[in-house]
C-alpha cells in the first residue's frame, strides 16, 4: 500500500533546497520576469465588472453647502453614484474607530481632493470622466496647512505626549556648553509602483469578497463589515501580492476596498476601484513632516548632559495612525545615544491636508534625525570629528543603558559594528582626502558622514504583536502554507516557506505558497513594523512543529520505536532502522487517521508598555546598522551627488541574505530620496502641487551612488529567541540614509570655518542646498 501512491523522490542530499540562511530568489521571481505574476488589476475581470472612481473636492476647507451630482449621473456609462447617504453602516474607516475618517465626506471638506462621492460606470475611463463633473460648493474657511499654523491655532489631532527624566532644566542650565537647533524633515509619498486597487464581488447571503492590495487584510475586512453593516465573517479579503506597500497600504487601502465593496453590494455586480496616480497621490496619506526645536547641553568633550526636544508633526485632517507614528518618533529621538536627563515632547498637529500615515520607519526616521543633527552640531562646535562624538555618546553596556522610555538596551552592538565599518570603509583616510579636496576647490565641495541606526522592533501597541498560520499537508506530501503576513515584494512568503521547509526538512518546492486570506487565518495584524517574518515566521514554525510532532508520535507508535528514534532528515524520515520519504510517512499517517492540518500561533514575549507612566519594554530587541556616505555639492547650483556609500547592517542571523540585501539597498535608496529629491509641496490654497512623477522625484538609476558597498554584519545574532535568531530588516535600513543628509551638511559647513553648523532642511534639494550655501557665505561677510 505504501507504494501505491506517488512518493516524492528520495534524495541523498545532505541539505534540503530552501533551508534558512540560503540566498534564494523571491518566490514569484520567475513570474516577475515573464510578466505572468498577477496583481489585482491584472486578474481576469469577472463578467459584468463595473469600475469605480472617487469624486473629490476641488477646494478646501469648509462645510458642504451644495452637492450637485446631476451631471455625473447623466454622464455616459454611469450606472450609479454613491454618496455618504448610501453607506448603510458606519461611515468611518478610522483604524482607531474614532470617527474621523469617513468613507465619503458627509458634511465637511477637510482637505483638497477629499472624496465626497463615487461613480460606478461601465469602464474605468467613463467612471473617471464622470467623476470630474461633480459640483461641490462649500462655505470656505481659512485652512490650517502648516505645522506652524497648527501650533499657532492650537490645532491637534490628539494630546501632547512627553518623556522626561531627571533634572533636565538644571542640567541644561549648568552644562558647560549649549546649542539651540531646529530640525526640519519633509513629507514623502510612498510611490508604490502599483497604485491602490481593489476588486469586490458580491457573494451569497449579502456577503462580499474583496481582492485588495493591502498590508492589512483583517483591517479591510473589519472596515468593510462596519461600513456595510455586515459581520466580519460575511466579508472575505484576499491579497496574493502587492506591487509595493511601504506603509502606504496599511490603512490607506481601506477606503478603496470599502467603496468597491459598497458598490458591489449596491449594484449586485463585481466592482473594481483602481486609483490613477494623481488621485492616489492626492487622496492618500504620506509620511509625516516634522519640525522640531531642541536644546542640548554638553561638556567640553562632547558628552551630552541634557536635552530638551520639542517635536511637532503634520498629521493631516484625521488621527489615522498618527499617535503610534509620533510615539515611535519619541522612542527614537535618542537613536543610539544616552541622554542622562531630558524632556522630549511631541505635538501632533491637525492640518487641512490629507491624513498622514504609516511610512517605512514609522516616525523613527524623523526622531533619529533630531538626535543625529544634535550630535553633528556638537561635534562641529567642538571642532571634533562627529564620529568621535557619536561614539562618546553611544549607549553603554550595563551602564548608561536606559532609554528615555525606561527600557534597558541589552543588545547594543554599535561599538563593534561601527568600528568594523570605520575600518572597512577607510573612514579616517577619506576624511583627510575630503578635507584635502575642499582645501583646493571652492566651487565643488565634498562632505562625509557616518551615522548609526538603532531601531526598536515590535509594534508599540503590544496587542498587535501576534500572528497566526495555517498548514495543510496533503496525502502526497505536498504542503499548503498560509499565514497572516502579506507579500509586497519584501520576500516574506519566501522566508516563511524556508522556515517551514527547515522544520519539516522538505524541499522548498513541496511548499505551495498561497494568498493571504482572512478566511484562512483570522484577526491578523498588519504586515508592518518590520515584523512580518518575526511574527508570521514563528507562527508558521509553530504549525510545522505541530505537524512534525504528530508525525513523530505516529511513526513511533506505528513502528514501535521511541520518539527519539524518529528523525527528520533532508527529504526523508528515519524511523528506527528504516528510512522513508516524507510523503510515504504522510500517506501512512493519513491512512491511520492522523490529522495533517494544523494552525500555528505566536505572540512576542517580554514586551509591555504602560502608557500612563510612559514606561515599559515596547521593543523585543533592536536592529542595528551604520552607513558612511560621501557626497559632492556644487555651490553655484546646489546640485548634489552621492559619490560613495558603505553600509554595514545587522540582520541577526540572516534567513535569506539575497532578500535581506535587497531590503537594505532599497531602504537606503528610499531614505536617500526622502532626504534629497522627494519634495512634497502644498500650495497656499491647500492643493497638492506634486501629484505625479513628473513633479515628484523618487531616485532613479542615475542617482544611485557610483560606489555602493553593502555588507551584512557577519557577527550578527539576535540575543532574543527570534526565528533562527534572525532580525527584522524592513524598516531599519531606511535610516542609514541620514548619513546622506549629514554628509551634505558637512559639505556646506566646509565652506566657512565657523562654530555653528549650517541649517539645512530635508529634503536637501538643490534649492535648499543653495540657500544654505548662501546663508553660510553671508554669515561671515562683515
Amino acid at each position: 500500500m505504501v507504494s501505491s501512491h506517488p512518493a516524492t523522490a528520495m534524495t541523498d542530499s545532505s541539505q534540503i533546497h530552501g533551508t534558512p540562511g540560503q540566498a534564494l530568489q523571491h518566490d514569484s521571481a520567475l513570474k516577475h520576469t515573464t510578466g505572468e505574476a498577477l496583481y489585482i488589476d491584472d486578474l481576469p475581470e469577472p463578467a459584468g465588472t463595473l469600475h469605480l472612481a472617487p469624486g473629490g473636492a476641488d477646494s478646501v476647507c469648509g462645510q458642504i453647502r451644495r452637492l450637485d451630482l446631476s451631471a455625473v449621473q447623466s454622464a455616459p456609462g454611469v450606472i450609479a453614484v454613491l454618496t455618504a447617504k448610501d453607506v448603510p453602516g458606519t461611515n468611518d474607516i478610522s483604524p482607531t474607530h474614532c470617527g474621523d475618517d469617513p468613507v465619503l465626506a458627509e458634511s465637511e471638506i477637510r482637505f483638497f481632493g477629499e472624496p465626497v462621492f463615487a461613480v460606478v460606470a461601465r469602464s474605468h475611463r467613463e467612471a473617471r470622466e464622470a467623476a470630474r463633473r461633480g459640483q461641490i460648493d462649500i462655505d470656505p474657511v481659512e485652512p490650517v496647512l502648516t505645522i506652524d499654523q497648527a501650533l499657532a491655532a492650537g490645532s491637534y489631532v490628539s494630546e501632547q505626549q512627553q518623556l522626561q527624566r531627571g533634572d533636565w532644566q538644571g542640567a541644561l542650565q549648568h552644562a558647560p556648553r549649549r546649542i539651540l537647533g531646529r530640525t526640519v524633515s519633509g513629507s514623502q509619498d510612498h510611490f508604490y509602483l502599483e497604485g491602490q486597487v481593489s476588486l469586490a464581488t458580491p457573494g451569497e447571503d449579502g456577503g462580499v469578497h474583496i481582492h485588495s492590495s493591502t498590508q492589512h487584510p483583517s483591517e479591510i475586512q473589519h472596515a468593510a463589515a462596519l461600513a456595510l453593516g455586515l459581520t466580519d465573517a460575511a466579508v472575505t479579503v484576499e491579497v496574493r501580492r502587492m506591487g509595493g506597500g511601504f506603509g502606504g497600504k496599511e490603512t490607506q487601502a481601506a477606503q478603496w476596498a470599502v467603496l468597491a465593496a459598497l458598490a458591489a453590494v449596491t449594484t449586485g455586480q463585481p466592482v473594481k476601484c483602481r486609483l490613477d496616480r494623481d488621485d492616489d497621490m492626492i487622496m492618500t496619506g504620506k509620511r509625516h513632516d516634522f519640525s522640531s526645536e531642541w536644546t542640548v547641553g554638553f561638556d567640553d568633550d562632547g558628552r551630552i548632559l541634557a536635552a530638551d526636544i520639542h517635536m511637532a508633526s503634520r498629521c493631516g485632517c484625521s488621527r489615522d495612525l498618527s499617535d503610534p507614528v509620533n510615539d515611535r518618533a519619541l522612542f527614537h529621538a535618542d537613536n543610539a545615544y544616552y541622554y542622562p536627563a531630558f524632556r522630549i515632547r511631541s505635538d501632533r498637529c491637525r492640518t487641512n491636508t490629507v491624513s498622514n500615515t504609516a511610512f517605512r520607519g514609522f516616525g523613527a526616521p524623523q526622531g533619529m534625525m533630531i538626535a543625529e543633527q544634535m550630535l553633528q552640531s556638537i561635534a562641529h562646535q567642538l571642532g571634533k570629528d562627529p564620529l568621535d562624538v557619536r561614539k562618546l555618546n553611544f549607549y553603554g553596556k550595563n551602564q548608561r543603558d536606559v532609554t528615555p522610555y525606561h527600557m534597558r538596551v541589552e543588545d547594543f552592538i554599535l561599538d563593534e559594528l561601527t568600528e568594523e565599518l570605520e575600518n572597512s570603509s577607510g573612514y579616517r583616510e577619506r576624511r583627510r582626502s575630503v578635507d584635502e579636496f575642499n582645501s583646493s576647490n571652492t566651487i565643488l565641495r565634498r562632505g562625509l558622514a557616518l551615522t548609526p541606526v538603532k531601531f526598536g522592533i515590535s509594534f508599540t501597541n503590544t496587542a498587535l504583536n501576534q500572528a497566526g498560520a495555517l498548514l495543510h499537508v496533503y496525502k502526497d506530501g505536498s504542503i499548503h502554507l498560509n499565514h497572516g503576513g502579506t507579500e509586497m515584494g519584501q520576500g516574506l512568503f519566501t522566508k516563511v516557506a524556508q522556515i517551514v521547509a527547515e522544520e519539516l526538512q522538505v524541499d522548498l518546492k513541496t511548499i505551495q505558497i498561497t494568498a493571504t486570506q482572512t478566511g484562512k487565518v483570522p484577526n491578523t495584524s498588519a504586515t508592518a513594523a518590520s515584523s512580518g517574518t518575526d511574527l508570521n515566521g514563528m507562527a508558521a514554525r509553530n504549525a510545522a512543529q505541530t505537524i512534525r510532532q504528530r508525525l513523530t508520535a505516529f511513526a513511533a507508535s506505528h513502528y514501535k520505536v521511541l520518539e527519539s528514534e524518529v528523525a527528520f532528515r533532508p527529504d526523508r524520515v528515519r524511523v528506527g532502522g528504516i528510512e522513508m520519504s516524507f510523503a510515504d510517512l504522510v500517506m501512512q499517517a493519513y491512512l491511520n487517521r492522523v490529522q495533517l492540518s494544523a494552525t500555528g500561533f505566536y505572540r512576542t514575549p517580554k514586551i509591555w508598555w504602560d502608557p500612563n507612566k510612559a514606561q515599559g519594554r515596547p521593543f523585543y530587541y533592536f536592529a542595528y546598522g551604520a552607513a558612511v556616505t560621501e557626497v559632492m555639492i556644487d555651490t553655484l547650483t546646489g546640485e548634489n551627488r552621492v559619490l560613495a556609500v558603505d553600509i554595514l547592517h545587522d540582520v541577526g542571523r540572516s534567513l535569506n541574505p539575497a532578500i535581506d540585501a535587497g531590503q537594505i539597498e532599497g531602504g537606503f535608496i528610499q531614505g536617500m530620496g526622502w532626504l534629497t529629491t522627494e519634495e512634497v509641496v502644498w500650495e497656499n490654497d491647500g492643493r497638492l502641487a506634486t501629484h505625479a512623477p513628473s513633479t515628484y522625484k523618487i531616485p532613479t538609476c542615475r542617482d544611485r551612488p557610483e560606489h555602493f558597498r553593502l555588507q551584512i554584519f557577519s557577527r550578527g545574532e539576535n540575543q532574543e529567541e527570534t526565528v533562527y535568531r534572525s532580525k527584522a530588516v524592513g524598516e531599519p535600513p531606511l535610516m542609514l540614509a541620514l548619513s546622506v543628509h549629514q554628509a551634505i551638511t558637512d559639505a556646506v559647513a566646509s565652506l566657512i570655518n565657523e562654530a555653528e553648523l549650517p541649517h539645512l532642511d530635508a529634503p536637501a534639494t538643490p534649492e535648499s542646498i543653495l540657500a544654505a550655501v548662501d546663508a553660510r557665505r553671508a554669515s561671515t561677510t562683515p
Binding site: 530568489q25 515573464t34 510578466g35 510611490f191 508604490y192 496616480r277 515584494g489 519584501q490 512623477p693 532613479t700
Partner: protein, 157 residues
C-alpha cells in the same frame, strides 16, 4: 462613435482589434488583449512600467495611441522568453535578485533589451542613463544595473 479597426503584429503574431480613438496601446494590451505584463505606473510617460517596443523603438505604451500601431511591430514582455527558454536578461535578473515587488520588472527588461540591441557593450553610465526612465521603488537599482551589465558581457561572448 465608430470604433477603429487596427491590424498589427504583437510579439510576432498578427493581431486585430477594435479600439476607441482615445484608447492607448497600454489600455488595449491590458484590457482588450489581456497582455497584462505591461503595467500602468503613472499613465503619463514618467515611470517606464509600460515599456514596449514599436518597430524596434522603445516607447511608453501609455503614450502611444492604440490606432498608431496599425501595421507596426510591437514587442512586449510576453514575447521576451522563447517558450520556456528565458531571455538572458530575464535569467540574469533572477540570478542577481534584481527584483522585489516585480511591477517595474517587465518594463526594465524591455528597456534593457532595447539598449543591448543597439549597444551590446554599454558602460555602466550608459546603462544608468538609458534606464533612468524606468522607476523602481523597491530595489535601489544596483542589482538591476549589475544584471544588465552582466548580461551584456555574457551575450558578447
Amino acid at each position: 462613435m465608430a470604433r477603429n479597426h487596427v491590424t498589427t503584429t504583437i510579439n510576432g503574431d498578427p493581431v486585430e482589434f477594435l479600439c476607441d480613438t482615445e484608447q492607448t496601446l497600454l489600455d488595449v494590451l491590458r484590457d482588450e488583449l489581456h497582455l497584462t505584463g505591461s503595467k500602468e505606473g503613472c499613465a503619463s510617460g514618467d515611470c517606464g512600467a509600460c515599456s514596449v517596443t514599436m518597430d524596434g523603438r522603445l516607447v511608453c505604451a501609455c503614450l502611444v495611441l492604440a490606432v498608431e500601431t496599425q501595421g507596426a511591430e510591437v514587442e512586449t514582455i510576453e514575447g521576451m522568453a522563447d517558450g520556456d527558454r528565458l531571455h538572458p536578461l530575464q535569467q540574469k535578473f533572477l540570478d542577481h535578485a534584481a527584483l522585489q515587488c516585480g511591477v517595474c520588472t517587465p518594463g526594465f527588461l524591455v528597456a534593457a533589451k532595447s539598449l543591448l540591441e543597439r549597444n551590446p557593450d554599454p558602460t555602466e553610465s550608459e546603462v544608468r542613463y538609458w534606464l533612468a526612465g524606468n522607476l523602481c521603488r523597491c530595489t535601489g537599482y544596483d542589482k538591476i544595473v549589475r544584471a544588465v551589465l552582466d548580461t551584456a558581457a555574457e551575450m558578447r561572448e
